[in-house]
């Protein structure tokens, strides 16, 4: 790497990421040619419907596909100037839970039912602080429980996950993820299982902790409202591909991809049940074993064919300067459709 701040790599940089699974039904191409980066202290939001490859992407960053014999990951993942795809299992393990940590979607199933919450946090701390004795680790865990707003942390330390309420459990999960001061925090739909008020509390908590620790955050969600509130940049995924990305304000003010328009049209409102994994756009997600030809979104896109037949035959490439989009429609056409056909209905 060359010297000088201008040439420095972002804290996390992902290039040409491909993840595929060999299954009995065929090869599942879960992530195709993905690329993104996150700077320290910034938040990247990843949105997309169920099955679009959000979790697979984040698990790839943590190197958690390595233990799956049917998974194949290629590309480059740079974390703080260290490349992870080509690194050894042991090198990645040492970063996992230390420099990079993850909060999972469903804290009840993500916590071990037979170990106390406290002991699971202690374990996370001690694996990255081998010299530390149990007592110190315990104090650290209790301290973390208090930091994430769990009342009576000394007592709750000895409780099991099923004894916590949903919100408290997610707080404990966050305490576990943050116990080693990670520089990169990936939150995979951290609030999906929670009700609205608790959702807001958890998001506030993540934001506060991010400010305190200065970490880079990847926030994965179905909920564009969350992204609008928290993210500096947005990545929209469809069928394992990035179809739009850019600064969050830009993407919200001036969304370019027809799929993103669909997502915007389905922003959760108070009169809708948040637990609904609603299909934001009519039609079903594409098969990842057999992607539709051309633009994978064409079977569901109302504008496919407006610009000749390229949508059906050619794969659109992600293009643009800061705000990028993968769609064959010319920019003027997109702006016009958005302003005249989409915006009035939002």
């Amino acid at each position: 790497m060359s010297i000088g701040a201008t040439n420095a790599r972002p804290f996390l940089e992902v290039k040409d990421l491909n993840v595929r699974f060999e299954t009995d039904d065929g090869i599942v191409q879960a992530v195709t040619d993905s690329a993104f980066s996150v700077e320290a202290g910034k938040t990247l939001g990843i949105v997309g419907e169920s099955g679009s490859g959000k979790s697979v992407t984040s698990l790839a960053v943590l190197g958690l596909h390595r233990t799956r014999s049917n998974a194949k990951v290629s590309g480059e993942i740079w974390l703080d100037d260290q490349e992870l795809v080509g690194a050894s299992d042991e090198q990645v393990r040492l970063l996992r839970g230390g420099k990079m940590a993850m909060i999972f979607q469903d804290p009840l199933s993500a916590m071990h039912p037979y170990f106390t919450v406290g002991s699971q946090i202690v374990e996370a701390y001690r694996v990255h602080h081998p010299g530390v004795n149990k007592k110190v680790a315990r104090e650290r865990a209790i301290d973390m429980l208090a930091r994430v707003g769990i009342p009576q942390p000394e007592r709750r330390f000895n409780d099991y996950a099923h004894q916590f309420s949903g919100g408290m459990r997610q707080r404990a999960m966050i305490a576990m993820a943050l116990v080693n001061d990670p520089k990169l925090l990936i939150a995979d739909e951290p609030t999906t299982a929670l009700d609205v008020t608790v959702q807001a509390q958890i998001l506030d908590l993540i934001r506060d902790l991010q400010e305190e620790f200065g970490s880079a955050v990847i926030m994965i969600t179905h909920d564009l409202g969350v992204v609008a509130e928290l993210a500096d940049d947005v990545l929209v995924m469809y069928g394992g591909k990035v179809i739009e990305k850019g600064p969050a304000l830009e993407v919200f003010r001036n969304p370019q991809h027809p799929y993103t328009w669909g997502l915007l049209g389905s922003m959760p409102r108070l009169d809708r049940d948040v637990r609904d994994r609603l299909n934001p756009v009519k039609g079903s997600p594409p098969s990842l074993i057999n992607l539709p030809s051309g633009c994978a979104f064409h079977p569901r896109c109302p504008y496919a064919g407006r610009n000749g037949n390229r949508s059906f035959t050619d794969v659109p490439v992600l293009h643009g300067d800061v705000h990028k989009v993968a769609c064959h429609l010319p920019q003027e056409a997109r702006t016009e459709i958005f302003q005249q056909e989409v915006l009035p209905n939002l």
């Binding site: 230390g98 940590a101 993500a110």
Partner: protein
């Protein structure tokens, strides 16, 4: 935890009471229903009328059934006296009754057979746990490989073959063909531990093969399930070593269901030793029961039944307690 413990203990005691009542009822009502005289069954048909009446008084067979049951329970807890005028015979607790046919107290008779049954079952259990669990875990981790397939193939054979067949097979291999093991002649542990071990090896291996097969399949299935659990992924996400992820997080829940099965199997094996002991020609409780049934020796049959039931109830109790200990969700329920 204490409340849970007390509740379970209470349940176990109730269950045992019910079992004794039912067994007692069956053994004392059946002769009545079939019109045979229990006193005759007790001492044999050849006895003269006077001695039959003597037995009837001594045994309290003229009392109502409830009184008889009460005395039986008292005998179990505190011991009892069999009396016919000046002819008094004391039977200390836990008194399972008196076999007039063989002129012996049932309890010491059966206690003498217990070590054989215990040795057979416990030794086999240790062996099958070690073999079953380790092959199950390895199979799960090497899923789909030739190793996995051959282990599971052998396990399938072990599960489906009946014990007398496996018994013949292991004898043929280890005794006659390889000549490694003796055919098996029980030697008490207290007499000669080495011989005890060597003589029991063949029955152990045979039983263990049978059970290890089930345990290997179960362990493999459980492990595959737990390895896919979210909390195992969390364990990896924390940066734990693969050894810890599997040996602690996955195994902890993968083995939990095994505890239940193990308790029940062990209870059933101890309680239902008839078949296994016959196959290996061991003179334990099962053998005793068989002899007693042939000779219509009711007190001994009753005693063996009660001991067998106790084993099964105890095994259930231990499983419940252990389960409450290892699964915090059960403890609180």
């Amino acid at each position: 935890m204490l409340a849970y413990l007390i509740r379970r203990l209470f349940n176990a005691v109730i269950t045992l009471l019910v079992v004794t009542a039912v067994t007692f009822g069956i053994f004392f009502l059946v002769p009545k229903a079939t019109g045979s005289d229990p006193a005759l069954l007790y001492i044999g048909k050849t006895s003269d009328a006077a001695s039959v009446e003597g037995i009837r008084i001594k045994m309290g067979l003229n009392d109502p059934i409830v009184v008889q049951y009460g005395k039986f329970l008292k005998g179990l807890v505190a011991g009892r006296d069999y009396a016919n005028g000046p002819d008094v015979q004391h039977c200390p607790a836990p008194c399972l009754g008196y076999s007039f046919k063989t002129d012996q107290e049932v309890t010491p008779l059966l206690m003498g057979d217990l070590p054989v049954t215990l040795s057979l079952a416990l030794g086999a259990a240790v062996l099958w746990l070690i073999i079953g669990i380790s092959t199950g875990v390895i199979s799960a981790l090497r899923r789909g490989t030739i190793l996995d397939r051959s282990v599971m193939g052998a396990a399938l054979a072990g599960v489906s073959l009946p014990i007398y067949f496996t018994g013949l097979l292991t004898s043929a291999i280890f005794v006659y063909w390889l000549g490694w093991l003796p055919q098996g002649n029980y030697v008490p542990f207290t007499e000669n531990p080495g011989e005890w071990f060597v003589q029991l090896l063949l029955p152990w291996i045979t039983l263990a093969f049978l059970f290890a097969a089930t345990y290997a399949r179960l362990t493999r299935a459980n492990m595959l399930e737990t390895l896919g659990e979210d909390y195992v992924r969390t364990a990896r996400a924390k940066g734990l070593r693969e050894r810890t992820v599997i040996g602690k997080h996955a195994l902890r829940s993968g083995l939990t269901p095994i505890v239940t099965i193990f308790g029940l199997d062990l209870g059933a094996l101890l309680g239902g030793a008839v078949l296994t002991e016959t196959v290996f020609n061991l003179r334990g409780l099962g053998y005793q029961a068989l002899t007693a049934i042939r000779g219509n020796d009711l007190p001994i049959i009753l005693g063996v039944t009660l001991i067998a039931a106790t084993f099964i109830v105890l095994a259930n109790l231990v499983v419940d307690l252990v389960y409450g200990f290892i699964d915090p969700r059960v403890r609180l329920a």
